[in-house]
Assembly symmetry: D2
Homo-oligomer: 336 residues x 4
């Protein structure tokens, strides 16, 4: 079927490629004409303005937007001004679910469907397929099913879940209609929150392994430093450990595969400084948990560790140092 794509960055362009490969027709637009030209060369229909983009789509139009979250509102607004009742706008970016609710409400006045699609898969999606979490009207979701099916990984060679055959639905093909507007990005938000947690769990585990030789390098004990004891004598090969866990262990996972790849490239990860960015989803996950009164110590700790990783020192630490100095005359020790 036909799909329009606005925003031809890494994600948008690769999704177009995957759709073209599967025989769909793609009308594409980007503010950068080179990005458009590149996909035209691969079989897409290029356009030079949102107005032209809308005109080249057949009604009912299906237009997928894949732009940075900060400009989604603007693009949705402009696009909608060229659309008509029963057309569908799909936001495939990382919007906050409350923004989806607001947008779909507004577009509903003009009879335009709005789908929010959380997409996981990163740079690997072109080859592996994209895992998609979808929110919005069932009529639009059903209409776009051929698109979702082509973008998704499909069942592939992943073993089927016992009992799944009785449940039916599209989940095991790698895409899912999660609920009304916002539900797609809500589920994707939680996905990313969990992702932070798993990454931090691996990070901390490898950190403890990396310091398993603490007894070998310990300095002189003093009143300001607790002694480490004599049992931490292991120089663990993290590349080998990350590899061995990939087969047969309880924690085998795609993130572990990536860790193994990183350690295979550089066994000390010295090529990374350790400043870990966070985008909105991890933050929104904790805020949602708080509003729902759900405790989430693990996911929040993972987020806070990222915050801390990007700082030299915090006011919190200085306050603790200052208090220690005040009550005990403790002077700070230089870093060792």
């Amino acid at each position: 079927m036909q799909l329009g794509m606005i925003g031809l960055g890494r994600m948008g362009a690769n999704m177009v490629r995957r759709l073209l490969k599967n025989g769909h027709e793609c009308v594409v637009y980007d503010t950068n004409p080179d990005s458009v030209a590149a996909l035209v060369a691969e079989g897409a229909i290029g356009t030079t303005s949102i107005e032209e983009f809308a005109r080249k789509l057949k009604a009912p139009r299906n237009a997928w937007i894949m732009v940075p979250a900060g400009i989604t509102d603007k693009v949705v607004g402009e696009l909608a001004s060229h659309m008509q009742s029963d057309d569908t706008i799909i936001d495939g970016g990382n919007s906050y679910f409350r923004d989806d609710r607001r947008r779909s409400e507004r577009l509903r006045h003009d009879g335009i469907h709005y789908l929010d699609v959380g997409t996981s898969g990163g740079v690997w999606g072109l080859e592996r397929g994209y895992c998609m979490m979808i929110g919005g009207d069932k009529v639009a979701v059903d209409r776009l099913d051929p698109i979702f099916k082509s973008l998704a990984p499909g069942i592939g060679d992943v073993e089927r879940t016992p009992g799944r055959e009785k449940l039916g639905g599209t989940a095991e093909y790698g895409y899912l209609h999660c609920g009304p507007s916002g539900a797609g990005h809500f589920v994707k938000m939680i996905h990313n929150g969990i992702e932070y947690g798993i990454m931090a769990a691996f990070g901390e585990g490898f950190d403890i392994l990396a310091n398993a030789n603490a007894s070998l390098k310990k300095g002189a004990a003093d009143a300001e430093t607790a002694p480490v004891g004599d049992d931490y004598v292991y120089d663990i090969n993290l590349a080998d450990v990350s590899e061995v866990w990939r087969r047969g262990s309880v924690i085998s996972s795609w993130l572990l595969d990536l860790a193994a790849a990183a350690f295979a490239e550089n066994p000390t990860l010295e090529n990374f400084s350790g400043r870990v960015s966070d985008s909105g989803e991890g933050r929104w996950t904790i805020m949602a948990a708080i509003e729902e009164a759900v405790d989430c110590d693990v996911l929040s700790a993972a987020l806070f560790a990222r915050f801390r990783s990007r700082k030299e020192h915090t006011m919190a630490e200085k306050v603790c140092s200052a208090m220690r100095y005040q009550f005990g005359g403790h002077l700070e020790k230089p870093i060792t």
Copy 2:
């Protein structure tokens, strides 16, 4: 080659089965004669005492112990009394790495090798193979390589890590000599610590999803309850979400596969009360981190959530309630 196995519980018995299938000779012993008989019927050589068990092993003997951690010391001691120089005792249970260090030190006086082998794979190991993390003398590890190779999953159909072909070693076959005595159980301990963290990350994520309908069921607001707002209107199907994440998402993993299987059986998990046990490894992981001065907020939060899950209420909570009553006259609200 020949291996002796003491302790024919679920893990020990299945390991024997996997070895028999691979053409090894297994001498077995258990305090329960039925367990011995069952494996004799499958081709193992049965014995009725540790003394007989040791006698039936050819020198240099290789004896694997798979018993509860609490009695390992006793069994190692009795077994060692029937062994001689250059024999090897393998502890495949979940010992604390410091106990390994102590035991291997003691056995070294008699020339007996001691290997500590952390084993992951649970009830699935018979079919999938066991991921093994090994500590101890290289000479004994090398000698037992055929056993480890048979127990391990092998490369299988798991995609190779890029660059791994240059690194060599046994890690990608699913077993690894991690270092001197204790290193195997140390790495296994961290494996379990990470496992707790990943499980908790998924748990919290599903919890936030399960409460995404909070706005629909909220009661009357009062001074003691913060209002939830109107945006949490989603009845998320957790079975479908756990399934959709299995393909193409960043958080695909074996633990997610298991969650999907559990939700497929019972979409609300009402068949579980939520009291989560913990064995020693999760605790030792945090203790090791503390001794190494490594921060591990995620792994510790995962452990503490298990502690809390097994209690009705804690003194900590009562202290908070009591303080609130003292300063603000706040009375506790009944559970809603």
Copy 3:
């Protein structure tokens, strides 16, 4: 000077009493006529409607609102309709600082000042005085200084901070103009966030003390329970410990005083179930930290412990139980 007070609950009524005692004139209103009558009997000027309330105030009017956060907007709106340029509305409740910003913006159009005053002191404020954190226009803050001074504790017999004499200002009298609109409730919000953290720190500490006899009551060890060892043999008297820490220790504090009072009443706190409510400030504190990208593991853990305290079991826990069952056949243990 003259002050109007709307909302004569525990906090509002006691503030009026403290002001009357200090020679101020108080015009009061509450939807409950009995509350008005009680204060009229103590010297206040009663009113039966917001309109009458506004009429009895001399221009420029000073009207303090002390009502539940949920109805503040409504009361502010109605009151403002009876006020004129240069009058001042003070919100002494627990508003979210963003609501203060919105309200003050709206009132500014009519020339009405809006002050947000975070108030700490609880039921003890009548006697001890109220600690006040104030946001809004300096002109209104200055005008109301006599009121703040009377409500505040004053320097009292609390030892002066070294160097404070050079800094001046009102802080050591127990009230502070913190900044523009919202700043007062922002600082009060953080105050409550810290309060949660300190309460939880004490709570956890007493919990570890309460379980210092774990070795005495331990049951039989099994594969699902890590053994506690033999060193936890102490039956600690929590009432005595909370008392001894009150004098000379680093952690002496008002919250400890309250804990000591609670333990003196009931050494096991059996009169509390342990369901700990939370109002908005603790939640907003964490949300503010997240928006500022400040890590706050301690304050968030304190909040989450309150969430958890009000539940029987969580989905997170059930997910962990379900995974354990799936990979290891672990069945849940009954509570001990």
Copy 4:
């Protein structure tokens, strides 16, 4: 009465001074003759060896040891060799409670009493008195009561806890017999654990306040940074806030007094780098909680924040960065 003191550092010397002031006789020893001479000049009886020290004490001897934890065992051993049945050794340092249990067991064979005394008060103890938590035989505790009473703060002008008059005991004088050997240091350990938690709660709160101006200094948003919004416009004066909370607020406490003093000296705490040391008690507190299966997210987070404060970057952070690069091509951003 007579007391011997070994170890004349800041703590030991000041305790001797407080005892001398209260009319007690003090025999003192230190490896540094100058420390001995200084106290002799103030009325103490000096000695030049442990042997002479023991000889100058009248039987039954009372010898208080105030030395670094690392050499306590050695000093106790040498001292014991010069003592006899019914003498008492008091360890006033920061020993691990398990070491107390071991030592008292050993000394009991020779009929020597061993008391473990956790002491809080730091450099302020000379003037304010020391809060003491005592473990060991009742007979020795009772015998030394005059010493404890003189060292402790006494009731002073701290308000009495309601109901305390019925409970009796020494707790409100600032010293307490907590239980058998180890109980004193156990309670002191928890005291310090709580101290870490309270300090971190204040630290985090001030950190959020210090960043309440985040909207004013935010840079350009990009895909790697979540935007902060427009509401964080407050330049909060931390010196004033810490001061205002000292009077009438729920979080008034001695640690807050110290924070106020530190901020009064330097409102940005730029004189501190923020590397926060930790001694053993905070670590042991968490280990005790883990062995008791008590959840302590707040206290552990406080400890881990100290660990993190002393590092540039952690392996955990590098692992997260590496994974992000692997799945999304995310490059690290430089610190802003």
